[in-house]
C-alpha cells in the first residue's frame, strides 16, 4: 500500500519542484471539491497531494493597472463573489462561477479546479472562454500563457504538460459598453450539471455590436469557442436575423452526447435558444446606464 503524503508549499517554485518530482502520482489540491470526491469513490489514489492555497499568487484577486483582472487559480467562488468590483465588470463570469454546486461548495471550489477537472459541463469554463481569459501555467520548463479554450483536451483531460500547474486567469480590460452573461439549462432549478451552458461577452457602441465572444459548454467533448456565432453578432444590432444566425452557429458546433439529461436533438436545439437569451442579457447589461 502506498502512503499518501500531503504537502503545502508556500512558493510556486517549491510547488512546481515537488509536483514535478512526484510525477503522475501527484494531484493538485485547490478547493478539493472534485479531488476529494474522486479519492473517496476510488477513482483516484494519489500518492502526493500538493495544496496550492498557501501560495499567495494562487489565492489573490488583483485588478491590474490596465483595468483587467488577474484571478489566482485557487480563488473560491465565494471569494470572487465577495470582491468589491469583480462582479460589476464581469457579471457573467461571476454568475457562472456561482452556479457551481451549493454555497458550501462555492466556499471552496475554484475556477482553476473547474477548468483542470476537464469536465465538458464545467460552468465557469464557457464564461471564461467568452471573457477571452488567458491562463498562466508554470512548470519545470518555465512559465507560459495559454488561451482558456485551449486548456480542455477531452472529458477529464487537459492540455497541460507533465509537472505544469495552472497559476491564474487574466481577464482583459473592458472598453465602455461591454458586459457578459452566462446561462445554462438544467433539469432542476438548482445544483445540477449543465445540459447546455452558454457564455456571451459583448461590446456595444451606438447600438451596434463591435466585439463578441461565445463560449459553449456541455455539448461536445470540450467546452468550445464558437467563432461563427461571434461573427454573426459582430456588426449587428442584435436583430432577429443576426441572433438566428448566431443561434444556428451554436447548434452547428454541437457534438453532444445522448444521455438521461438531454438527447442530442434537445441539446443541439437548446444551444441555439440559450445563445439568444444569453446575448440579450449581456446586451442589456452592456447598454444600461450606470
Amino acid at each position: 500500500m502506498t502512503e499518501l503524503r500531503y504537502l503545502a508549499p508556500t512558493s510556486l517554485d517549491e510547488a512546481i519542484g515537488v509536483f514535478a518530482k512526484a510525477g503522475s502520482a501527484a494531484r493538485i489540491l485547490a478547493g478539493g471539491t472534485d479531488l476529494l470526491v474522486q479519492m473517496r469513490s476510488g477513482v483516484l489514489k494519489p500518492g502526493v497531494i500538493v495544496d496550492i492555497k498557501k501560495i499567495p499568487e494562487m489565492t489573490a484577486i488583483e485588478q491590474t493597472a490596465d483595468g483587467g483582472f488577474r484571478i489566482g487559480a485557487a480563488v473560491s467562488g465565494m471569494a470572487l463573489h465577495d470582491h468589491a468590483h469583480f462582479g460589476k465588470i464581469w457579471p457573467g463570469v461571476l454568475e457562472a462561477v456561482n452556479l457551481i454546486g451549493s454555497k458550501q461548495v462555492q466556499g471552496r471550489a475554484s475556477a482553476g479546479g473547474n477548468l483542470c477537472n476537464g469536465s465538458p459541463a464545467g460552468d465557469s469554463v464557457p464564461a471564461m472562454v467568452a471573457a477571452g481569459a488567458i491562463v498562466t501555467v508554470q512548470g519545470p520548463n518555465g512559465r507560459r500563457e495559454i488561451k482558456v479554450e485551449d486548456v480542455p483536451a477531452g472529458p477529464g483531460r487537459i492540455n497541460l504538460k507533465p509537472g505544469e500547474i495552472l497559476v491564474s486567469f487574466a481577464l482583459p480590460p473592458r472598453p465602455p459598453g461591454s458586459s457578459d452573461a452566462y446561462l445554462r439549462m438544467i433539469p432542476r432549478t438548482e445544483m445540477d450539471i449543465a445540459v447546455v451552458g452558454v457564455g456571451v461577452s459583448l461590446t456595444i457602441k451606438d447600438g451596434t455590436v463591435t466585439a463578441a465572444r461565445v463560449g459553449l459548454g456541455a455539448v461536445a467533448p470540450t467546452v468550445l469557442l464558437v467563432e461563427d456565432a461571434a461573427k454573426a453578432l459582430i456588426g449587428s444590432k442584435l436583430d432577429d436575423a443576426a441572433l438566428a444566425k448566431a443561434a444556428a452557429a451554436c447548434s452547428a458546433a454541437c457534438r453532444p452526447i445522448d444521455d438521461k439529461r438531454g438527447t442530442i436533438a434537445y441539446r443541439t436545439k437548446v444551444a441555439g435558444v440559450l445563445l439568444k437569451r444569453t446575448a440579450a442579457i449581456a446586451a442589456q447589461r452592456a447598454t444600461q446606464k450606470n
Binding site: 502512503e3 499518501l4 503524503r5 500531503y6 503545502a8 489540491l29 478547493g31 478539493g32 471539491t33 476529494l36 470526491v37 479519492m39 473517496r40 469513490s41 497531494i49 495544496d51 492555497k53 473560491s76 465565494m78 454546486g101 451549493s102 454555497k103 458550501q104 461548495v105 466556499g107 471552496r108 438548482e190 445544483m191
Partner: protein, 163 residues
C-alpha cells in the same frame, strides 16, 4: 503510518490533533475530536449535513482535508449555543418543529447562521437558494425556511429596539 500533527482553532478554542494525510475534516471532527454534531450524509458534498465554517466561510467538512485546518479557524454546530443558552436559530427550530429525524439539522443551522451573518434580512427565495445545498428527507423544507425567516425577523426587531 506517519500521522500529521495539526494545530488549529475550533469554536474559539486552540486545538491540536493527529490525523492521517487523507482524513477529511469531518473524519477528524467526529472521530479524533469527538465533535459528533456534524453529520456524515453523502460524504461527497451533496447533502450539507457536515456543514461547518472555515474562517467564517460555509463549507462541507467532508470536502476538506483535516490537515488543511492548520492555522485556520473552524466553527461547528457545537460552538453555536452560548453555553446553555441556545442560539436564536436553534431555539426557533425547536419552537417551530423545523426538524424530524434531525440528521440534517446541525448542517441546516450552521448554514442558516452563515446566511444571516452575511444577509440579516433575506427574502424567502434567498433562504431557499442558500439552503439548496442542505438536503432534508423528512420535513420538506417549509418549516425550516419559515424558522430561518422568523429568526431573521426577530433578530432585526431586537436590533431596532437596541438602537
Amino acid at each position: 503510518m506517519a500521522k500529521v500533527h495539526v494545530t488549529t482553532t475550533i469554536n474559539g478554542e486552540p486545538m491540536e490533533f493527529l490525523c492521517e494525510p487523507g482524513d477529511t475534516m469531518l473524519d477528524a471532527l467526529r472521530g479524533t475530536l469527538n465533535l459528533t454534531g456534524s453529520k456524515e450524509g453523502c460524504a461527497s458534498g451533496d447533502c450539507g449535513a457536515c456543514s461547518i465554517t472555515l474562517d467564517d466561510r460555509l463549507i462541507c467538512s467532508c470536502l476538506m482535508l483535516a490537515v488543511e485546518s492548520q492555522d485556520h479557524e473552524i466553527r461547528t454546530i457545537e460552538g453555536m449555543a452560548n453555553g446553555e443558552k441556545l442560539h436564536p436559530l436553534q431555539q426557533k427550530f425547536l419552537e417551530m418543529a423545523a426538524l424530524q429525524c434531525g440528521i440534517c439539522t446541525s448542517g441546516m443551522l450552521v448554514a442558516s447562521d452563515a446566511l444571516l451573518k452575511k444577509n440579516p434580512d433575506p427574502s424567502e427565495e434567498e433562504v431557499r437558494f442558500w439552503l439548496a445545498g442542505n438536503l432534508c428527507r423528512c420535513t420538506g423544507y417549509d418549516k425550516i425556511v419559515r424558522a430561518v425567516m422568523e429568526t431573521a425577523q426577530e433578530l432585526q426587531n431586537q436590533e431596532m429596539r437596541a438602537q
